[in-house]
């Protein structure tokens, strides 16, 4: 006989550990345990059967995987936590005894821990780290915009600011900005770095409010990890692009401009203003990932992907040079940092008032300025040779991938709606003409088949089709022809006419051919699936009809609007 199995020696009760058990095993306080879990990326789990996990009891507990906790036992950070505990005890003692020197020495030797190994552990490759950057960036930009609170460790906030500025500079120099959007929550930005799409939010700079039900300690712990992560990522990005890290300006900031702060501080301020280009390492040829990918694709012979890639690359290039011929000036009432970043990321030059922020490269009176961003209803003194636009124009232009006409964005005018670039239209949806970026893409799609058709083995196809036609033509002519009755008529009909050049529309023929093939294929569909197929077809047809209707409506509306405008003009002419 086998030995009797004891209860709760195997299975769920052993695989899961409750939080309190974990605390006892690791000999940590709850706060420390929480921090450790966040740093190491250990998350609670929900057992399938709570009763089994808790030895038959049905209590509301937080569970962790026992393996995870076992893994945590080897963590050197735990030891540092203990050091921290003793440090705090000593410090409080010294404070209570009013021992100033001891307190100071203690403070100078405050224990700390490094998270390098944890980052390496959680993100074994650089791509993994990039994939998880959304959260990291959002949190760091959020804290970078915080005031220096007593709750938060000051050096960490400063680090946040620095890291965020470094990242923005990278985006500017690499030109990887894809989308931007102003929402009520904040500014959404999307970039593409090494094929990874990264989205993050920068909050509006509108005063600091402390939400009541947020555990600040937890967020600070997340921040601790993310600052380490972003530090490494920034270094890697900079070094791969051949930039000097930490970033330095090409232009040396001099203290002669301001005698109030040190040179270091001043250069930092200049750097943070995002208005000036940063230094590149001499004699480095950064590896262009896109090119490498393309070459690989070519070698593999993946033409479709190649096409797609080329289109994408063209789009990015247009975006990078979107504002290259523009020179912007930002007025005081506009959130300078965001707009400076966006304009510079698209290749534009930008400046602002000298009293607003350091890093201004030219003055309002500069005559080469092409666009001035203005967000106030009225302007008193305007210069003739520049365009005054509202800031939304910049964001809309970027999303449309072209410089939009400025007439709708003039100061004081009611702006057209700011559309979200994150809305993805499905195939065949109706797209209002306001959605510029989409429209362009659609046009591309429409053009493509026309371009493609002749490229598919033109000569062979032609010969084949022409042959086919020649064979067919006489047949079709023969059947409807009624036999001429009399000889004369026959004679008359036997007339020889001058030859005409056959007008063969190749694309039309190809299309007809494709349609026929499609029809044949449709016929082979089994009955069961046929119904579903019909359903899909029907829904598509309905959708198309709907779209057509909307388009027609729009066309009518546009026409009417145009006519009205012309009528108004005529009236005015008459009046004048």
């Amino acid at each position: 006989m086998t030995k009797m199995q004891k209860k709760y020696k195997k299975g769920a009760s052993v695989n899961y550990t409750s939080r309190n058990q974990a605390l006892r095993k690791l000999q940590l306080t709850l706060a420390d345990f929480r921090r450790l879990c966040i740093l190491k990326g250990i998350y609670p789990v929900e057992p399938k059967n709570r009763r089994k996990a808790n030895r038959g009891r049905l209590a509301n507990k937080t569970y962790y995987l026992a393996k995870d906790i076992r893994f945590l036992t080897h963590e050197p950070i735990i030891d540092k936590f203990r050091h921290m505990k003793t440090y705090l005890r000593r410090l409080t003692k010294a404070k209570a005894r009013n021992e100033k020197t001891r307190e100071e020495t203690l403070r100078n030797n405050r224990p700390f821990y490094k998270l390098d190994h944890v980052v390496r552990e959680r993100y074994p490759s650089f791509a993994d780290a990039l994939r998880d950057l959304d959260d990291c960036l959002t949190l760091i930009f959020l804290f970078a915009n915080f005031p220096l609170l007593k709750k938060l460790y000051e050096p960490r906030l400063r680090l946040c600011r620095r890291l965020s500025v470094e990242f923005l500079h990278y985006v500017i120099t690499s030109g990887s900005l894809k989308k931007c959007f102003i929402s009520v929550k904040g500014y959404y930005f999307q970039v593409e770095i090494r094929g990874e799409i990264i989205t993050w939010i920068i909050p509006h700079k509108l005063g600091h409010k402390n939400p009541a039900d947020v555990d600040f300690k937890i967020m600070a712990t997340f921040l601790e990890f993310y600052t380490t992560l972003l530090g490494f990522i920034n270094f890697k990005l900079y070094s791969d692009l051949g930039l000097v890290y930490p970033p330095k300006l090409n232009f040396a900031a001099t203290t002669s401009l301001s005698t109030l702060c040190s040179e270091d501080e001043f250069s930092d301020e200049f750097l943070a203003s995002l208005g000036l280009p940063i230094m590149k390492k001499p004699d480095t040829n950064p590896v262009d990932q896109v090119e490498v990918d393309q070459e690989a694709a070519q070698l593999l012979g993946n033409t479709e992907a190649d096409e797609e890639n080329r289109r994408k690359e063209e789009e990015t290039k247009t975006l990078q040079k979107l504002f290259s011929k523009c020179k912007f000036f930002i007025s005081r009432e506009i959130p300078r940092e965001m707009f400076a970043f966006v304009i510079r990321a698209c290749g534009g030059n930008v400046s602002w008032d000298k009293t607003m922020c350091p890093g201004a490269t030219y003055d309002v009176s500069d005559e080469s300025i092409t666009h001035q961003l203005v967000d106030r209803p009225k302007l008193n003194d305007m210069v003739v040779n520049r365009v005054y636009v509202q800031p939304q124009w910049v964001f809309d232009s970027i999303n449309a991938r072209q410089l939009l006409p400025v007439d709708k964005y003039l100061p004081g005018s009611v702006l057209p709606p700011h559309l979200s670039p994150f809305v993805e239209e499905k195939e065949g949806d109706y797209v209002p003409p306001e959605r510029f970026g989409r429209r362009q893409a659609e046009e591309d799609v429409e053009e493509e088949p026309v371009k493609e058709v002749p490229s598919i083995n033109l000569v062979e196809n032609n010969a084949y089709l022409n042959g086919n036609l020649k064979r067919k033509r006489p047949e079709t002519e023969e059947t409807p022809a009624v036999k001429p009755a009399t000889k004369e008529e026959r004679k008359r009909s036997m007339r020889v006419e001058s030859g005409q050049v056959q007008n063969v529309n190749v694309s039309n023929i190809v299309k007809r051919k494709a349609d026929e093939e499609k029809r044949l294929r449709e016929m082979t569909i089994p009955k069961k699936q046929k119904r579903l197929y019909d359903k899909i077809k029907f829904s598509q047809k309905k959708k198309r009809q709907e779209v057509e209707k909307l388009k027609r409506k729009r066309a009518d509306y546009d026409k009417a609007a145009k006519q009205e405008a012309t009528n108004d003009k005529k009236k005015q002419m008459k009046l004048s």
Partner: protein, 465 residues
């Protein structure tokens, strides 16, 4: 004295005997034997055999050199030799008196204590000494200060350098994903992989195996949800209406749930509704305590006179045997009929096998579909759902939106909505990264209030004593 032999040895054995060191006796005997072999015992020999007068070296003459002494070794004592003449000038007794140290004797000045007679010179000397010590002290102090400053600076520089390497608040300037542990590599190269593994085992410096699931995210929800088009600061009318509708739907759903809960809970009684119940309870509890029982009694008497019980009187109807038999028969008949009918139905079912099969097929298909749906639902919950950890359930944050009249359509006058920190916190909770918690309220110990007796006594009927 304790015996060194083991105690367990029997006392009548030779082993138990006391052991005495006899080496000196042996030596003595050996010596005697040697003396007897070399011409008799010394003690028994006359003096002239043992000694002779040295006439070669009379007292005071030069003593023989070491070589000579060696040559004239004393072993051959039996052959008398001439002694070298005594060198009186070189006697050991005189030599001892001569100085034998290589250190020169101190000067005659220092050996003599300077005895200054005058008070002034004494004072002068003292003051000189004083200044000298002071100067030495200051010099010592200055050097110490200098050294300390230098050390401090050195320390600070080294510390700064170290901090730059270690401080978590200075971002690291090295490629994390392309570095290798040099120390480990060196060890491996010098010792070999097997030994290196052992060393790592001993010092616990090996890399712990990371559980694979750590790289995975606990939820497949994106960190940043794509913003709804209605949240634009200047949205189109339709988009904004959609957003508002969504928010309204959320609110209605909340209300519906609340209503459902209210309906299922026993209705909380309002004070006015609870009053009659309270009264009744009071009455019941206080029945028989007060005088008003008399009235009740009278009423009771009145009731008694009319009827004894409230309900109808119960009569027990018994069945006769005949009746029972009849019923039995009836039951049997019914059962038979039922069986017959069932059989008939079954027989007819034989002819509609096809349709039955169809029905069965349909049922299984439906069942399969249901299973599939459930599976999909489960997968969705696993991948995108928010799990429940601990006591509290996750509560979704409100949608951030501008109301219709809050939209200004202008960046400068825009009204920002929502807190990003709150949003992040909720997002982390939603993605199963942290558990939802309720902030513990700060506990306040209740103050116990009481009046002093002397104060309490002072009432409206108080009369001072």
């Amino acid at each position: 004295m304790p015996r060194k032999t083991a105690k367990h040895v029997a006392r009548n054995k030779k082993k138990y005997w006391r052991k005495i060191d006899t080496q000196d006796i042996e030596d003595q005997l050996e010596d005697v034997r040697v003396q007897e072999m070399t011409g008799g015992r010394r003690s028994e020999q006359p003096d002239h055999v043992l000694y002779h007068i040295d006439t070669e070296h009379p007292l005071g003459s030069k003593s023989p050199s070491a070589e000579e002494m060696q040559v004239s070794s004393p072993i051959i004592r039996s052959i008398p030799r001439k002694r070298p003449p005594l060198d009186l000038n070189n006697l050991n007794t005189y030599k001892i008196l001569e100085p034998h140290s290589s250190v020169q004797p101190p000067g005659s000045d220092s050996r003599q204590s300077r005895v200054s007679t005058s008070k002034s010179t004494k004072r002068l000397i003292e003051s000189e000494k004083c200044t000298e010590t002071r100067r030495a002290a200051t010099k010592k102090y200055q050097t110490a200060v200098k050294q300390r400053a230098e050390a401090l600076q050195r320390n600070a520089i080294s510390k700064a350098e170290q901090m730059e390497l270690i401080d978590p608040h200075v971002s690291q300037a090295y490629d994390l994903w392309n570095t290798q542990d040099d120390k480990k590599e060196k060890v491996r190269a010098s010792v070999g992989p097997a030994m290196a593994a052992y060393v790592e085992q001993v010092y616990q410096t090996y890399d712990w195996k990371v559980p694979k699931h750590i790289i995975k995210h606990p939820s497949k929800l994106p960190a940043i949800t794509t913003p709804l088009p209605g949240t634009s600061y200047n949205p189109t009318y339709d988009d904004h209406q959609d957003l508002l509708k969504k928010a309204v739907d959320v609110e209605l759903e909340k209300e519906r749930k609340d209503l459902k809960l209210q309906r299922n809970l026993p209705a909380m009684l309002t004070q006015s509704a609870a009053e009659p119940i309270k009264q009744a309870w009071l009455k019941e509890m206080s029945s028989g305590l007060f005088d008003d029982d008399v009235e009740n009694d009278i009423n009771g008497e009145n009731n008694q006179s009319t009827s004894v019980s409230v309900g109808k009187p119960v009569t027990i109807e018994t069945k006769t045997v005949q009746q029972r038999n009849k019923e039995k028969l009836q039951k049997k008949k019914e059962a038979l009929n039922k069986a017959k009918k069932e059989k008939r139905i079954r027989d007819t079912q034989l002819f509609r096998i096809k349709s039955i099969r169809k029905e069965v097929d349909k049922e299984t298909q439906e069942h399969g579909q249901l299973l599939q749906e459930r599976e999909i639902k489960y997968e969705n919950r696993k991948n995108y759902g928010t799990k429940k950890f601990g006591r509290y359930r996750f509560e979704e944050a409100d949608l951030d939106l501008n109301l219709s009249d809050e939209i200004t359509g202008n960046l400068r006058t825009m009204k920002a909505e929502g807190n990003l920190l709150h949003d992040r916190f909720k997002s982390l909770q939603k993605r199963n990264i942290i558990e939802p918690r309720v902030r513990a309220k700060p506990t306040k110990t209740k103050m116990k209030k009481y009046e002093k007796r002397s104060v309490r006594e002072v009432g409206p009927n108080y009369q001072p004593k």
